[in-house]
């Protein structure tokens, strides 16, 4: 599903910073992997490249069999819209839109009509137990609720890949467990998932842990998440 070949990325700030130093990675369809590593090791950078939110300097990135390189603005927007769903640590909900409108927004960019949009958005909210909160604005929701809204938004277009950058980073351990539970369920439907995390407890609930260190993949750890009791708290 995802294939990275010798990906290099340098930030040209005041001092050039070589963040990714030739990353090779393969994530198969339906796989759920996590990326761990010290702060500044390049996890977010890698995820942003996977999400076409940022570009890379050299190497090749294949998504769903297609080379993602030098895409035009519009092509990139289309790929993001149809193939990828994002979950962020800080939720990134639009503050002046209700939960339902936030979830429906990706469909707006697919030109789905309003009635259909809201109907689909409602289904997803219901699935995440947020039916009653559909008309609330993000600032009226708890962190866990916000993250569930953003998960609903990520899934509403039925993407092939979910990219999550520290999805539980802003949540307490109980809520984190809930979120992971949901992600695990989503994964069960066959969606490929890449999760960046600091927490080993989270990482252990994925199929593989990719350890990143100083811009290279140090090693890949294979888990057996099915042996873990998901109802248990993480931390």
């Amino acid at each position: 599903m995802i294939r990275l070949e010798k990906i290099n990325k340098t930030y040209f700030g005041a001092q050039p910073l070589h963040v990714l130093k030739g990353i090779d990675l393969q994530v198969n369809e339906g796989e759920m992997v996590s990326i761990m590593g010290a702060s500044g090791s390049g996890k977010s950078t890698m995820l942003n490249i996977l999400g076409i939110l940022d570009n890379y300097d050299s190497g090749n990135y294949y998504l769903n069999g297609k080379l993602v390189k030098d895409l035009s603005e519009n092509e990139a927007a289309d790929v993001r819209n149809r193939t990828i769903g994002f979950i962020f640590q800080s939720f990134n909900l639009i503050p002046f839109k209700t939960a339902m409108e936030n979830v429906a927004l990706p469909l707006y960019y697919q030109n789905v009509n309003r009635k259909k949009r809201n109907q689909i958005a409602m289904e997803y909210l219901e699935r995440f137990g947020l039916k009653e909160w559909a008309d609330h604005y993000p600032n009226e929701l708890s962190g866990g609720q916000k993250q569930r809204v953003s998960m609903a938004r990520a899934l509403v277009t039925q993407p092939k890949v979910i990219l999550a950058d520290e999805p539980t980073g802003a949540l307490d351990s109980k809520t984190s467990a809930e979120v992971m539970q949901i992600l695990r369920e989503v994964h069960e439907t066959g969606i490929t998932m890449v999760i960046v995390t600091h927490e080993r407890g989270i990482a252990l609930r994925t199929d593989k842990i990719i350890h990143l260190k100083d811009g290279i993949i140090e090693n890949i750890e294979i888990n057996n998440p099915d042996s873990i009791d998901f109802s248990k708290e993480i931390k």
Binding site: N48, N55, E73, A77, R80, N81, F86, N92, I94, F96
Partner: protein
């Protein structure tokens, strides 16, 4: 349809932002219009103050020749005739309006009262040229002149002689040299003499006296803005008249050509200076309005950079984001721009009314009545709207251009 819904929603859900942006625009336009109106008011006040000198007027009198020319001897009197009027009206492009003068002196009677009178047959423009001040009623009109009405405007001296204080002369008939004239107006007396003056339509007196030669011609001119131009014009006029009346062009005693150009030129200078001053102030206001509006637009777009990043991550195309931001700012600037414009005009109008009430009947050196030039108002409003939209467009375009992750992480 969906597009407009999105726009409307974004505007109404961000009430404070919408209001602040709109307020900045309304305020900018409001202040601009009020100041322009005040400036105009001052201009009008000055204009009124100098109204007797706001027209460049000429008068020519016939004299006597002092040099022999083409077989004519000296001491020949020069009189003007209809040919001269036609010449001035049709062949001299600088001449605007001509009022020839016929006169008749005699006695005016009303009932058993009478007084000496000097009657002049004049055209309506004479009032401006002579700067006649009306006390009651009106001066001779174009229509009176055209239909040779037997109407008369009398001065205050004659009124005192003919009418008791309690009688209103307007509409009464006075007899001058056997002809009954209806009194249509009373004007201030000129000079110190207590002889009565009367003005009747030129065409009326021409018919009655059967005169077709005139001692004096008055006319207004246009486009002579400098001393040099006026001197050249006088010279040209003298040569032309010399040609028409066969006298030596160097003979300065044949016709006398006088003008009020000095007062006029000075007035124009004052006028121009003030006009420039007001334009500079207006321009400065406009610039500060544009800067204010642009700044607030820029800030609001900056504020939305995160939102733009999120939308891009969700698959929004740059074009669609840009279109909504520009449409939003267009709607805000247009609606609030017009509100500001109307409020400004209402304020100018109300201010004008209040000021003219206050000034009414008082001897104030300067009457300031604010007024607005609707074309300038519309142009200024349009300019602010366009600048507001452009000021929103460029930062929006920049925000849309950067990578989505940068926009999302923007602080």
């Amino acid at each position: 349809m969906d597009f407009w819904r999105e726009i409307f929603m974004a505007l109404s859900r961000n009430k404070l932002r919408t209001f602040l942006t709109g307020f900045a625009i309304s305020w900018g336009i409001f202040i601009l219009i009020v100041l322009l109106a005040a400036g105009n008011g001052i201009m009008n006040g000055i204009g009124e103050e100098f109204s007797d000198q706001s027209k460049n007027t000429y008068m020519i009198y016939g004299g006597e020749t002092s040099k022999p020319y083409k077989g004519h001897g000296t001491n020949r009197s020069i009189w003007f005739n209809d040919k001269d009027i036609r010449f001035l009206e049709t062949e001299v492009k600088e001449v605007d309006q001509v009022s020839p003068c016929i006169y008749q002196s005699g006695f005016a009677n009303f009932g058993d009262k009478s007084g000496s009178i000097f009657v002049q047959g004049v055209r309506p423009v004479f009032k401006d040229i002579n700067n006649t001040k009306m006390l009651e009623g009106r001066f001779i009109s174009e229509l009176d002149e055209k239909s040779s009405e037997k109407f008369i405007v009398i001065d205050d001296n004659l009124r005192k002689k003919l009418f008791d204080d309690e009688v209103s002369p307007l509409g009464q008939f006075v007899i001058v040299s056997g002809i009954a004239y209806k009194v249509i107006g009373i004007c201030e007396s000129e000079g110190r003499s207590d002889g009565g003056n009367g003005y009747v339509p030129f065409s009326t007196l021409k018919k009655i006296t059967r005169k077709n030669w005139y001692w004096m011609l008055h006319f207004t001119v246009k486009g002579l803005e400098t001393k040099e131009e006026n001197e050249a014009f006088t010279e040209y006029l003298r040569t032309q008249l010399a040609h028409l009346h066969e006298f030596d062009p160097d003979d300065t005693s044949a016709v006398y050509i006088g003008s009020r150009q000095e007062g006029y030129l000075q007035t124009m200078k004052i006028f121009r200076t003030f006009e420039l001053f007001i334009w500079i102030i207006g321009f400065a206001m406009l610039i500060s309005g544009i800067v204010g509006v642009s700044n607030i637009m820029r800030i609001t777009v900056k504020e939305r950079t995160n939102e733009i990043g999120i939308r891009k991550a969700l698959g929004a195309k740059s074009r669609s984001i840009l279109a909504s931001i520009v449409t939003e700012s267009l709607i805000i600037t247009t609606i609030f721009g017009y509100i500001g414009m109307w409020l400004g005009m209402v304020a100018a109008e109300v201010g004008g009314n209040v000021l003219s009430k206050v000034q009414e009947g008082k001897e104030i050196s300067l009457n300031i009545v604010p007024s607005i030039d609707i074309r300038i108002v519309l142009m200024a409003t349009a300019l602010l709207i366009v600048c507001g939209v452009l000021a929103g467009f460029f930062p929006a375009r920049n925000a849309v251009k950067i990578k989505p992750i940068e926009a999302m992480n923007y602080r």
